[in-house]
């Protein structure tokens, strides 16, 4: 009950923020990116976290969604209709690559996804008649900042809601079984390939929709910016920093990622030495080595330590 109230208050806070502060364009822009990245990280997490299939090529789905929105909007579609279309296209693409790729396990799968991501970028780059090739596609005009903000908030909320629902569903337990022990999952009657493909399908759909928001915001999509390896890298970094496999971890990761990047870019000293790479690299190494559950895990530990100390104190009294 408390949780629902708390969640309601927060969502309400975000909902009325543009009304309370209509001129905070910069803050709205940053929040937009946080929500967008949150949705992207959550999408990745459905496959990478819940199912344990780490993908280094997820930019492919974001790019497909972004291109779908850009091209369909240019063809005269209303913007809102292009989002589900982009999601669907990305999801269909995932059906093309999922079943064969899932014959590979663990690290082999991860490596294959690097190849898939790069191949998708090269296809987008060379299929000029459809994508405009290296020149990319420019959208005509963006909706007002507040509209963008609500769209991104909506996508983020829907994505996180769906992820939370999946995690608690029977399907979610099946995915958890696939992650912890695929062989045992098979003997329990879970068809691991189908389960993984379903997870990828959902993940790709969500990313495709997020890609639509990306295109709406950036108004320009090109093979390197949307399909680039660096996009895939951020998709891996955010959930891991926040807490892989959790519901709010990717959101936390996205918030920190966005904030850190804003800070690092504006700080001349840090920017001069590209220290963002080190910051994210060290965070990644530290988390992998010491707290695989990410910052949320560290947070939990702190809380627990604090709680046990208060308990001890009260016992002493």
């Amino acid at each position: 009950m408390y949780r629902l109230i708390a969640l309601g208050v927060v969502v309400l806070g975000f909902l009325i923020f543009p009304i309370v502060a209509p001129h905070a364009e910069y803050e709205l822009d940053v929040l937009f990116l946080m929500f967008l990245y949150g949705a992207m990280a959550t999408s990745w997490n459905v496959l990478g976290g819940f199912t344990g299939q780490v993908s280094f090529g997820h930019a492919a789905f974001l790019g497909i969604g972004a291109y779908a929105t850009a091209l369909l909007a240019a063809a005269g579609w209303p913007l809102w209709a292009t989002f589900p279309a982009g999601g669907l296209l990305a999801a269909l693409y995932s059906l093309l690559i999922g079943p064969p790729a899932f014959r590979l396990r663990g690290p082999y799968f991860a490596i294959a996804t690097i190849g898939i991501g790069e191949a998708t970028r090269l296809i987008a780059l060379n299929w000029s008649s459809l994508t405009g090739g290296a020149s990319g596609v420019t959208l005509s005009a963006a909706p007002p900042v507040t509209v963008q903000y609500y769209v991104s908030l909506g996508i983020c909320a829907a994505t996180v809601g769906a992820a939370a629902w999946i995690k608690r569903s029977r399907f979610g337990y099946a995915l958890a079984a696939v992650r912890s022990d695929p062989d045992a999952a098979e003997t329990l009657g879970v068809n691991t390939t189908i389960a993984k493909t379903q997870a990828l399908f959902i993940s790709a759909f969500m990313l495709g929709v997020a890609g639509g928001a990306y295109a709406m915001h950036y108004l320009y999509v090109s093979p390197d910016s949307t399909f680039g390896f660096s996009t895939s890298i951020s998709l891996v970094i955010m959930p891991i920093i926040g807490g892989i496999g959790t519901i709010f971890g990717p959101l936390l990761g996205a918030a920190i990622f966005t904030a850190l990047r804003e800070q690092l870019e504006a700080n001349p000293f840090l920017a001069k030495y590209s220290l963002d790479l080190s910051v994210f690299g060290l965070l990644l190494c530290g988390i992998v080595l010491f707290e695989p559950r990410g910052l949320l895990g560290i947070f939990d530990r702190l809380i627990r330590r604090g709680a046990s100390r208060t308990r001890k104190d009260s016992v002493r009294e």
Partner: protein
């Protein structure tokens, strides 16, 4: 005919290069069952150290491996002791992510020290060429090929003829059995990782003779390396050499019939197809053929 021959030779030379940059990856995977995602970073640093010695102290880049090999061997051992060791027993994806983080840090080190400028080595040797039956060849490319072939021979000798090499092989085949047989598996891990990193840095040093580079150097090559070791079955050096030849032939002859802008697609397609059709690589194919 002349044309085909020229393509063949240039493919073979490229194969030597591809193989050299993949040995380290294969050794580390073979022994530790860890995929070294930091390989590109090590290649890049090997190139930078070579360039830096040439640029600042006028050391001939051909002599650079004398410094690069021990330096990176030590670096590898330290990295294994400090970080990699803790994740070897965990799921493979954990070490992959760890080394991915290391790669980011290595890139940052290069940016911080040498900035993002494109660097390149220029010596008379690098410019020198010779003619062989009407086909002009470049000495540095031949040199890199020979170095790659020699590395393969030395590695094979080391692994089959020395006590330590046999211990490495024993660990890569069955670490528990090796432990029972009294082999200090932890030490083997550290040394093998050190050798693997040193080999990658050596490859980077060789690459600096052929290509200009920056901190992002190796990213495109990384995928080729993965393709090669997957083709070769991830843990056999001879397999790696074959994988390298296969890839370079596919690229050289493939490009005769398709646009050059699709060159990188060849390795990815090959990678994905082989991974999916033959998850055990060439070695696996040969093995399964034998079984039939």
């Amino acid at each position: 005919m002349q044309d085909t021959l020229a393509t063949l030779i240039s493919a073979l030379l490229a194969a030597g290069l591809y193989a050299t940059m993949s040995y380290g990856l294969a050794l580390i995977y073979g022994v530790l069952k860890v995929i070294n995602l930091a390989n590109a970073g090590v290649l890049m640093l090997g190139a930078y150290v070579t360039w830096w010695m040439w640029d600042a102290f006028h050391v001939d880049p051909l002599l650079a491996p004398i410094v690069v090999l021990p330096l990176f061997f030590l670096f590898g051992i330290v990295l294994e002791r400090v970080a990699v060791r803790r994740v070897i027993e965990q799921e493979p994806i954990v070490s992959l992510l760890l080394l991915f983080g290391v790669w980011l840090i290595l890139q940052n080190i290069a940016y911080a020290i040498w900035t993002g400028d494109t660097r390149s080595i220029e010596t008379p040797f690098i410019e020198s060429t010779f003619k062989l039956g009407g086909i002009q060849l470049a000495w540095p490319r031949v040199y890199v090929f020979v170095a790659g072939a020699l590395t393969l021979a030395v590695l094979q000798l080391f692994l089959t003829k020395t006590q330590f090499g046999r211990a490495i092989r024993a660990v890569s085949q069955d670490r528990e059995a090796a432990r029972l047989a009294g082999i200090d598996v932890e030490r083997i891990y550290a040394v093998a990782f050190g050798i693997g990193i040193a080999l990658s840095a050596f490859a980077g040093s060789l690459l600096s003779l052929l290509f200009p580079f920056g901190p992002d150097f190796g990213q495109a090559l990384q995928l080729k390396s993965f393709c090669i070791v997957v083709l070769g079955g991830l843990d056999s050096f001879v397999g790696v050499a074959f994988g390298a030849i296969l890839l370079s032939l596919a690229e050289a002859f493939g490009l005769r019939y398709m646009a050059a802008s699709l060159q990188n697609l060849i390795s990815f397609v090959l990678l994905v197809v082989v991974l999916i059709a033959f998850p055990k690589g060439i070695a696996g194919i040969i093995r399964s053929l034998r079984r039939v």
